[in-house]
Symmetry: D2
Subunit: 343 residues, 4 copies
Amino acid sequence: MSLPRGFASDNTSPAHPAVFAALLAVNEGAVPAYGADVWTAKALAWFRSQFGDDTETFLVWNGTGANVLSLRAMTKPFSAIICTEPSHINLDECGAPELLTGCKLIDLPTPDGKITPTMLQLAVRGVGDEHSVQARVVSVAQSTERGTVYTSDELAALCFAAHDLGLLVHVDGARIANAAAALDLPMRALTRDVGVDILSFGAAKNGCMGAEAVVVFNPVLAADMKFLRKQSMQLSSKMRFLAAQILALAEADLWLANARNANAMARRLADGVRGLPGLEITQPVDANAVFVMMPSEIVTELQKTFHFYVWNEKNGEVRWMTNWATAAEDVDEFVAAIRGALS
Amino acid sequence: MSLPRGFASDNTSPAHPAVFAALLAVNEGAVPAYGADVWTAKALAWFRSQFGDDTETFLVWNGTGANVLSLRAMTKPFSAIICTEPSHINLDECGAPELLTGCKLIDLPTPDGKITPTMLQLAVRGVGDEHSVQARVVSVAQSTERGTVYTSDELAALCFAAHDLGLLVHVDGARIANAAAALDLPMRALTRDVGVDILSFGAAKNGCMGAEAVVVFNPVLAADMKFLRKQSMQLSSKMRFLAAQILALAEADLWLANARNANAMARRLADGVRGLPGLEITQPVDANAVFVMMPSEIVTELQKTFHFYVWNEKNGEVRWMTNWATAAEDVDEFVAAIRGALS
Amino acid sequence: MSLPRGFASDNTSPAHPAVFAALLAVNEGAVPAYGADVWTAKALAWFRSQFGDDTETFLVWNGTGANVLSLRAMTKPFSAIICTEPSHINLDECGAPELLTGCKLIDLPTPDGKITPTMLQLAVRGVGDEHSVQARVVSVAQSTERGTVYTSDELAALCFAAHDLGLLVHVDGARIANAAAALDLPMRALTRDVGVDILSFGAAKNGCMGAEAVVVFNPVLAADMKFLRKQSMQLSSKMRFLAAQILALAEADLWLANARNANAMARRLADGVRGLPGLEITQPVDANAVFVMMPSEIVTELQKTFHFYVWNEKNGEVRWMTNWATAAEDVDEFVAAIRGALS
Amino acid sequence: MSLPRGFASDNTSPAHPAVFAALLAVNEGAVPAYGADVWTAKALAWFRSQFGDDTETFLVWNGTGANVLSLRAMTKPFSAIICTEPSHINLDECGAPELLTGCKLIDLPTPDGKITPTMLQLAVRGVGDEHSVQARVVSVAQSTERGTVYTSDELAALCFAAHDLGLLVHVDGARIANAAAALDLPMRALTRDVGVDILSFGAAKNGCMGAEAVVVFNPVLAADMKFLRKQSMQLSSKMRFLAAQILALAEADLWLANARNANAMARRLADGVRGLPGLEITQPVDANAVFVMMPSEIVTELQKTFHFYVWNEKNGEVRWMTNWATAAEDVDEFVAAIRGALS
């Protein structure tokens, strides 16, 4: 019934016990709906403690909602949003960004999931030309969909280039905790402090049941957000239950401990298989993903016991994700199975 | 901090303890994401047991999402959606239906929150005229935003008239349980069996933390739903936690017990104040709402201690909502306070 | 084949001969596309001469395009647009305003096609409430769809009330020339000078083949217009042919002469039938429309020979439109026929 | 003031004298608006004579309108539209396709403006996966934006592959006449007969003032078109003036003569410069465009006297367009100037 040996996605993980404790703690009596409760106030205060006092945060249901809401706040219908080809907003949101914003997505091919300042400069064209959509946002994932992590210098350079081109910067931080853990930096140091304008803060993949947040560093961009959230169907009535999940992550930096475990398990997995004949690790293992090329018959064999996805149907590359709940034994069993299958 | 004496909304209520138990029960190990898990399968099976074997159900985050998703499945961008003036889709969703469907809402004034076949017939015009939006859906709430409940005969007549006009019927069932409890009928008897095409099934107001469902009785309308759900940002990754909430309601008909309590408490409240000088109950108390006119200074006085809303700013009418968690003592204290204030 | 006795619409009229002359005059050689030609520059200069030096004008294809473009420039997707129930944007544009803006239209019933400041104040609600669309524009027609004309005082009062409520004012001026002729005032005196923010300037109904303009008085609202026009599919490649039509209207104030004829013919028609037994004129005949109640068998009889529409299918009210090309003899024949049918 | 030596675009050309004659011929008296007139009936009959008796045609204002309307008729909001990177719908419509359809455009890089069956097959992915947009349309230009022309065999193979993948085929025929002239085939032979579903028929670039048509070969796709046209702001009130332009092109196959001249002038131009040192023709000159690489200082020099565009800002490639009105002397003067500049 369950999938104890799953390396398919960080979404397959259960919720952390602390999340349940937090949910129970807020379940007393009647409180105002739609976020006018004390628990939500505490959760928003935590975001200010992490990202700065004038940060404005909006709790939402899920990552697609957080991304779309961020993009809606940054664009007009004739804007263009620059992103990577494998980005979640481009491939995995069923066109929600286009439908909700009206904008065109300009997707850039990228070997490692990252956008460089030069790539960005080449992608911007037709500025001021009424026939052309007008580039307005660059959206990057941190950590990326390829398991890599931008250094804070890389992000700073990208933000500088973006702002210089008149663009705003959105970070899809479905795995922002993994990036912070990887870089051993406060989340603020790799978002607000390097020039990011809005962050989609991920919680579901990092131990929650279902909760995310849009974290706005540029106050101008927050002005319409409450209306955009409601119109985007992302306003929870019983908001305390979203807030509680955030408070669980906040307590004793559980968000960081969870991310560290996920990252460590990915490294353990990569270390366990690196150099095996017939297997090639195709991306740096910066965070909690391992990308691998190996013979398709081995893939098929392993998938009988372990749950993971073929990332690229064209070349057979596979993706292994670890998460907050992955145990060393899970990894070790998987490594053993891979070694066995390859030998 | 909490609002023990709240009559503001059924959204102010906590979650039922059984919901927590159900959430804990599904929190074991890794399971496939996005609904391909056994708990979701069980929840969908429960909907089939309630509404018929070929019912297709889609779990979503919230009521606005359920309504918009239903309407998207039923319309084209040049369609019109007929509803009541005070309906949630018209007043309380910040234009989400218009944005996501592209459609015009035609809102009908109504004394009691209901639409009659005659009202519907008068509202349809310009059929086949390219200058005019084309009426395609009538959306009604059951129970209504005015606390009234359509009889199954009323709904059958409306569905017949709608289908005769070429319209589909959507029921906003944020409080469908309250309607079923009020009529003492299975939910199926007041939806599918009378001709309803799609139901927004409400769970959050009836004891859950945050979960709703789109229940499709007309299989043709389900064909695109999975794409529409994802594109509408209503697909949960860790779906088991939505499913668990539904399973809690299903167990031993908790949904019905919760609704019965809410309705009984509204009747108790209405009975406690009916006939008081200076106070007028303005709507039949069919479900879990009591609408009242009374002097504005009394309203102001009561609001110092009790949480409830002025429904109509123009005439001062107020709304008192009860919910699954409302206790008889809560009502009795409120009644005593009202009596005291009025005397 | 043609309809020499048509009172159906000002759209049934041919183009004025001067329009053809102007079109021929611009048909020399190659000129830059999309409006970067001298004829377009001259047309825009004429608008500045009429409405003020900092007026920004955008030529478009048709009235629906002009209205939608105006509304797009004034709104965000969660805005509401207040209009009259019988307004063109509400009834006759097949939902284009909703689809292109995402907004809700709030349509007010009105006896004479006009909105008063009090009606406007009552229509604005839920300000700042995230659940509610946010009223942002009031759109009025001048002359109205009911053939009435706002006095400049009425419009000034409405604009004052609108701005006081934080709303912008759009005028659907498909028949702005008729209103100016009726009031014997420059067009500026009934638009910009009384506080209007954007005008849809009508040309097609007033003697052109197909051309309209969006005239922006509030420069802030013009900033995105070129992109909005292109994205709204309203940018003509061979713009000189739209410009030529405007230049024809401008020459020797043809626009005014055309409108005066249309208005005079409506008055002649009204005067010719006023007081006839069995016939009631239901609206003031301020501009070029006459609304009449008369027995349905008479309507049917007259429609065998004359082309006109039943305006209101519920009560049988009919509408007679005159236009720039309506001749006194056309009217006199029609009057004689009506008199004959009624006697 | 005018640009007698323009090679910038076919949109810079004047209207053909026959168009004026046709416009005058329809300018008699009142006729029903919105297309219910005899001239429109004649124009639609001409399309049936060209494309088959059950063809349904909808006259519209412009090419962007025709393309967007076609795409709206073929898609749902979660569909994807496959096109080439340099296609008009991708680069030159300011995001109108995305805004009006809600769809994602998947743009394929292409050396010669064409899509092959293999390219198409590789572009389709995620079929049935709710996270992914669902490919539904392939849109190709004929002749292409690179001046090339698909053979009818190439188009037949592409249509076969598309239908096999469950896709519909749209042809952006802004220059369909040039393609038919180039192939010396009836327009039907390169559209309907090879499997195309909807054609955007171009008239403005081929001698008209402003008129295009959506020509539907698959009757199912025409069902909603009249509503889509009106809602897309592409319904002309005085439709006879669009119809007249089509009738002018139809008369004695003026459409073909015009296209042949444009194509011949492009060949004359290419022949005149081919092989010159420092100049490279980069695309086959199939229709009425010549793409050339030459030193940027020569480009700058020539642009002082002749109007044409740099097509690719990155590599300096320029585009020369000819049109129905281009004269041999215009070409010869240009060739002489180029030769002079290069020597």
